[in-house]
Symmetry: D3
Subunit: 248 residues, 6 copies
């Protein structure tokens, strides 16, 4: 059930049965010469919708722009500053908690979001506690990184080995190919690809990772792989979500 495709009356009815919501969060950032700028949002959104269907949960609107400051030396990247993103998450959760939601499951497509999300959750718990909401103590947020699902990770290693890399990976590119086969890009990739550098500022990042990839060979991706990753992630995260709902 997509929040965007239901009415407030349907939300009201849903809240009688469940207080959980799934929130997809991606990023709008370069993904190498062949990866889509929306890769992280596309994957998170598709998988979140799959989880929503599997678990009868409401799926909120996709947070399309996350924390990608280190990618901003590549055109097309958009990023929130962490301090902005903390306020955004706080605003989302506070609105929904006032309405009765208590379990917020963020299905995340971008590793760079994790730190700021965790910081935002801490800030949000404290804020909601200060508001003296009746359900303040019940409010819980959790991140589910689809690319960290053990089944996904294992398949990626099987299919790509070291060429999975850590950004513009064939696994995430495969999922976008499965979702948007009409947007598969073909560009020759240099056989050598940088890897192993830590992430600092945007200018430094572009200097290290000149075409945007981090140790990956996205040319290995296929839509069929994408379907497999999608299904594994949906299955595993559905289980995680249901367990999360059961936390008292």
């Amino acid at each position: 059930m997509l929040l965007h495709l239901i009415t407030w009356l349907e939300v009201e009815a849903y809240l009688q049965k469940s207080q959980g919501m799934i929130l997809p969060i991606g990023s709008t950032e370069q993904h190498g010469p062949t990866g889509l700028i929306g890769t992280d949002a596309i994957c998170a959104e598709a998988i979140a919708r799959g989880v929503g269907e599997a678990t009868q949960a409401i799926v909120g609107p996709t947070i399309n722009v996350g924390m990608a400051l280190h990618h901003t030396a590549f055109p097309g990247t958009i990023s929130l500053r962490p301090s902005t993103m903390i306020q955004l998450i706080r605003d989302y959760v506070t609105c929904l908690a006032k309405a009765g939601f208590t379990k917020f499951f963020f299905i995340n497509g971008h590793g760079g979001n994790v730190a700021t999300l965790k910081a935002a959750f801490a800030e949000t718990y404290a804020h909601i506690s200060d508001l003296n909401l009746a359900n303040a103590q019940l409010v819980k947020c959790q991140v589910g990184n689809w690319f960290m699902c053990s089944s996904v990770y294992q398949l990626a290693k099987e299919l790509y080995g070291d060429r999975e890399g850590s950004h513009a990976t064939p696994s995430e590119v495969a999922v976008t190919q499965y979702i948007y086969p009409e947007a598969i890009k073909q560009t020759p990739l240099s056989p050598e690809v940088a890897s192993g550098h830590k992430i600092y500022g945007a200018a430094d990042f572009r200097l290290r990772y000149q075409d945007g990839r981090m140790g990956s060979n996205p040319a290995l991706a296929t839509p069929e792989h994408g379907k497999q990753f999608y299904e594994l992630a949906v299955k595993e995260l559905s289980k995680t979500y249901l367990e999360f709902l059961n936390v008292e």
Copy 2:
């Protein structure tokens, strides 16, 4: 061209020809007993994509959550505080301006966003000027409210007269029916509907507008109307966007 479905190399090439970007902005808020919570985002996104196709412009990711604090007493509504939204807009525009974009056309689906957007533009111009970007003086933002297009407005008056109202309107509901025919809602609506009250805080709003509508009869909407509105809006906003590109 959707920013999310292209690569940074394609953005780089695009910037040689154009420095414009279209950014859809909606809201996640109650739209009466039959209107979808995503109504404003759905309309803005669909029309923005139409304008993007008509004008060969890049369409950025949809801003799904805007300024809807006055609707937050209805469950399912999510809102940014204006101060958060100002930072968000500042972050988006700053990232893109550093990459070379200078014309930001926000196709907007929610009247409640306008004031905060304008405030955000002013804050953003000043910020970008302080950064001493080479193209600072060229950065320009503009809002295009699809529901304020004169052709749209006129059709709405013809089709619905006074029953257009000002929130959960048949015109916006019609567009969502055109885009998502599978999500058309049928619920009896009370024949009387509140109208004419000014908007203050959320609790007051719900007291005045008990089912969420403001003077509207969304039961008059049809998907065919929606198609007409969509096409009028795309045509009119495409013209506006091209004029905006031509502003020196």
Copy 3:
């Protein structure tokens, strides 16, 4: 009754009878070669005081500096950033709401303030609601733009036609001449005056509107006109204020 000229005991007594306050808000910004930098504050303050007398309302201190970032390329202009102004309005209204005031009528002299004021009102309602004040739901803010009064608008059209323009207008200059006849400025104005450009950043604004006027001929202003505008605005806004007080 000016808040500045009464005591807290008088405020306490007033609150037994009324919970309304009038707050003049202007701007400190260039108004063309002959318009005073304080034009917007002068007009708002004078008219607010007239309304206060006519309606027995307390008139708070004038907010002399508003949102005028687009005028800051002309010396003498002072502006708050919108994010600062939102906090300022929040602080004013919160203090007064805690004391028992619930109706805040901002008599405004500057079009550029409107968007930020509306954003600030939304932020403020949400903040006050979070504070759990007993009267939170009753707190209401409204803007009254004296230059948008229908009687004022009509007279300006009669007297000046197109030469009213939209900044450094003869109508606002006339009001300042009525209030401060000793500060009437005489400088030759170029017969041509720019108009029709949208407002973006400060540098762009100065480039478009080189002497600061927007389509206006302030040389048409007279103190007698000013008196007429003043009286019309006071009459119309007094009516608006009393209606506002009656909103439940």
Copy 4:
């Protein structure tokens, strides 16, 4: 010369000769049973205008609301939070520094403003330095508290001795009586008046200082005293301002 009563052309001409501006800052706060809520703003504004005349300096718009959180348990008081006031001062000074002003002399009527003003100055210097303004290093702010002028202090001691107190003092009340003789208040004052308690939060303040006075007997004030205080303050602060202008 009042900034509000001149044009931007006059400011431009002034900047050729001087880069100094006087900014009156007051407060909107209770001043005991007979003191005006605007006392601090009235005194600061009047004296600043006197200094402006004496020194040919531009006097900016009065900052009517300052840092008076500890008075907010008395109705009619309005206060900025310190964090808001810091942003406000930063915005004022930044706008004016960009236009060429470098010496900002705040004539202050409220002891409670001093700490936040000093904090704001530090924040502002750092901000302006970060903007790389050509004149960044020259920007200097200074507070001139009229009530701390040695001549004023001495006269207050002579006239009132211990009954000067430290809030709602006869000296400040006298100045308001001189400026606004029509607003002299007569209310019996209890002969005992609290004094010597430190200032903490608003509720505590009201508990300690039940009628708002701090050790003062404002019944001793006369308009004639007010004229004396006014003249002493203008003379002494004019000298201070001229010295400040001479700091390299």
Copy 5:
């Protein structure tokens, strides 16, 4: 070399040879019935000083209070909100980067700091880039968690197995016993200790982890163990720091 025990002339000389600084960051939070509230700061500070000696690096002042909001239901805990901590880190690094430092190695004693530190680094890089500092691109921050050193982790597993737990661990308690033998606490600990619950808000945390420990048995700690952990951490982090200095 402790920054606090040298002069600015010595810093100036140091900067000729190295641009690195070590910054210890801890927390002020409950550590179970026998763990010191300063545990994380004590460990970070001691180990940082050891690393400073081993590598001839300047060690900055200890950040004693970090992100510990989830511990705030236990008395004695002090926490920054993540949004405050981001500004704090930004301020520290900006000051030092302006002076010429470029490598900031945060030796961290608290897992709860990591997310916010990473968010802060991203915010800081972007800020410093906006300032146009000559060395902006060289500025790099890195976290070294002493408790995550592989040698430390291995010893803890050897000594304590599962009883290491994840908060108020015997390993960190041991280090504090080594540093402050005079502050070893003896209190009977319940043999059962909660573990495995995820961390949400403060009230929830206290409910789950009633004495503050998370799966640990700090009674196993000895000062001798502490010395071993200290030495392993110093050795391993010294190596990491030197490698970090060598990153171009």
Copy 6:
């Protein structure tokens, strides 16, 4: 009793008897050619610990970095912006007030902190009042500047006369020599030392005070003097703290 060396159970027990806490606050800033960068933090921490012992009070963690923006043109200086420091103080006091502490005595080693501390206290009282804490009205903060103790001031005048100066003073240097005799610096000081200039921005400060001293001759300091200053300050501030505890 140092907060860092006790457990939360000990804090809980302490709160039964006392609700006071001592918080040392220093600065990390240049102190002339021979003064330690940590001077202000070292003095505040040592004296706070002395007061804690004398009064059986808990001493919280030292705030090592304060408001020293004007010293940032000298390498090694670290400063919070005032707006950051206000949030930091707010966070500290709010956490502790929720746990039951109500009297916060900041033993301060740096004149430059005072204004921001006072601003922060005002902001904090208002914040805590908004949280509706049961003990909100009892929360009180006070600054004790050790260098302003009358006994300290008097001894400094006796020992050093005019050569005490106002920054990098022999008295504060003496205290650091007493605490850290191993870190006594010997560098020839120019006999002439600037004095009397007001403090504005950092670049201006360095221009005026080229070696960092303000009118002082720290070469007069001895560890024996330091011991005397320390003992006087501990004695006087212990008395002040106990009086503060007794304020209702």
